[in-house]
């Protein structure tokens, strides 16, 4: 039981990180009608910029600096790429974001090299013990911060004028434009919010363990099963999907070490994703209109 609770805590913490990344995917998909495969690389940029600024600035300022850089990168990409392809086919858009992912990944390698870099993480490396279960500060910070971010997003989308405008654009672009909502600005807003979420996720992803490597972008793509499982157009689905993927990975790593060379847990989210795609293509919480990417 102790092992289960211990793994459950770690799984929820990792799941919250996936939930933040998955929410970024969903917000961009709903807000700009584009599934951005470069989102994982935005997570990588977020992590590397924090690491690059940490020696010169307090951690919180390094974080703010990373948000500024990553959001700017996302806005430039949205403006130069997406806005020009607004009438293009979904396939062309997907290929464009894949190309963007390769370019951003190459940029990360050019600027920061192929080796790993140490990361301090937003909190110290202490622990709290509850019975036999050990809760790390970073795990507690991940869950607490993610909940605060989710609440902030809830307030934004439900009770602010821009949140409503973004939801209206996601619901029906032409009708939103007919009401005088600047659809282009909503595209940019959705990419900006997603990029900011990517930075928040990146600082916690770099805490499991405390290193940043070029593969962090690929790790972030583990949020894709979370998006598909939850439903491509569902905010709630992104959170639930993130938690499901985080729990499966950590519980799988804990209980299935003797199978599949100890790497079975890495495959499980993708197996579940395929099962969901076959049985319920719109995900657990998605609407039937959206089925496959």
């Amino acid at each position: 039981m102790t092992l289960f609770l211990q793994l459950g805590f770690q799984g929820v913490a990792l799941g919250m990180v996936y939930a933040l990344i998955a929410l970024g995917f969903v917000i961009m998909t709903k807000g700009s009608n584009t599934f951005n495969f470069a989102h994982g690389e935005f997570v990588a940029v977020g992590a590397y910029v924090v690491v690059a600024l940490m020696p010169h600035l307090p951690y919180w300022m390094a974080f703010i600096g990373s948000v500024v850089v990553t959001v700017t990168l996302a806005l430039v990409a949205e403006r130069l790429l997406l806005r020009r392809l607004v009438s293009a086919s979904p396939t062309a858009l997907i290929l464009a974001t894949l190309a963007l992912a390769v370019i951003v990944h190459a940029l990360v390698l050019v600027v920061w090299g192929v080796g790993t870099k140490g990361s301090a993480g937003p909190v110290g490396s202490g622990t709290v013990e509850i019975g036999d279960v050990v809760l790390t500060y970073s795990g507690i910070a991940t869950i607490g911060t993610s909940i605060l971010v989710l609440l902030a997003l809830l307030v934004f989308f439900r009770w602010t004028s821009y949140g409503l405008a973004l939801r209206a654009t996601a619901s029906h672009q032409e009708a939103a434009a007919a009401q005088g909502i600047d659809v282009g600005r909503m595209f940019a807003l959705s990419w900006g919010i997603a990029a900011a979420l990517a930075v928040v996720a990146s600082i916690f992803l770099a805490s499991f363990p405390r290193i940043v490597s070029p593969t962090i972008g690929l790790v972030a793509l583990a949020a894709i099963p979370a998006v598909v499982i939850g439903g491509l157009d569902s905010f709630v689905g992104a959170v639930v999907g993130g938690l499901v993927v985080g729990l499966i990975q950590v519980l799988g790593a804990g209980y299935l070490t003797d199978y599949g060379g100890g790497r079975l847990h890495e495959v499980l989210p993708y197996v579940l994703m395929l099962v969901v795609l076959v049985l319920r293509p719109y995900g657990l919480f998605g609407s039937r209109g959206i089925e496959r990417v």
């Binding site: 409503l164 996601a170 029906h172 009708a175 939103a176 005088g180 600047d182």
Partner: protein, 255 residues
């Protein structure tokens, strides 16, 4: 004499490289009046509405010549948001409500462009609902679950939330039961009586000509007839083509 609420001058539109959708359109909506635009399917009615509201680009269309003026100001190159801020609002063909949003949220989205303070938003909402009392009891319902008639009322209410001077209504009676069409007709008159100018595109020519002061007939992208609505109503050819009355019947009835 004050300038018209809406004036379209020598407007031509094409989609893609070759397909000309509108040619040399001249149309005017005087202040505080209803003007109707009639024509068969594919005549270019919705294209003209999009050219006026600035939504042509969404469908790959471009204005190749001509001008759209709103209250005397040239808005031909303005974005849709700028036109709404200047006082233009549109209820799109097929209602096109935001199905995932509640009725209250749909209406609030209609006022987004005005950046209302709370009191102003409440005032705009009350004003819109005064024309559409049916929506009062549906405020918390998701728009996708409304009936066709309720969605049409919501589409009109959403457009009214920006407090427009000129309202474009694209096929508001489409797919509605006759009794609901009557209700929509009364709502349009009610809005007109408050001073809003209306350009009404309709397949239901009988309804449109019964409430409009002027009418235009569009065929194959060109205006082929225009005049006082009463004259168009009495025209045998119009009666035969759009009112479902044969020429002989029409002649007989006006003899």
């Amino acid at each position: 004499m004050s300038e018209p609420a809406l004036a379209v001058t020598d407007l031509s539109v094409r989609y893609g490289a070759a397909a000309t959708a509108l040619t040399g359109i001249d149309l005017m909506v005087p202040r505080g009046e209803i003007v109707t635009l009639l024509g068969p399917n594919g005549a270019g009615k919705s294209t003209l509405m999009r050219a006026v509201s600035g939504l042509l680009h969404v469908h790959g269309g471009v204005i190749t010549s001509g001008r759209v003026e709103l209250l005397g100001s040239d808005v031909t190159s303005d974005r849709p948001a700028a036109r709404v801020r200047r006082g233009l609002a549109q209820a799109l063909e097929g209602r096109q409500v935001f199905p995932d949003l509640t009725v209250a949220e749909n209406l609030a989205a209609g006022g987004h462009v005005r950046r209302y303070r709370k009191a102003q938003a409440r005032e705009a909402l009350e004003r819109a609902l005064s024309h559409l009392p049916r929506l009062h009891d549906l405020m918390d319902r998701k728009a996708g679950y409304l009936s066709g008639g309720e969605q049409q009322m919501l589409a009109i209410g959403r457009a009214l939330m920006s407090q427009p001077t000129v309202l474009l209504l694209d096929e508001p009676s489409l797919g509605l039961a006759p009794k609901i069409v009557e209700t929509v007709r009364d709502i349009i008159l009610d809005i007109r009586d408050e001073g809003t100018s209306i350009l009404l595109v309709e397949q239901n020519a009988a309804m449109a000509l019964s409430i409009a002061q002027h009418g235009y007939v569009l065929e194959s992208g060109r205006i082929v007839r225009s005049g006082a609505a009463a004259d168009l109503r009495d025209d045998d050819e119009i009666a035969a083509l759009y009112l479902g009355v044969s020429a002989s019947e029409g002649a007989g009835s006006h003899a």
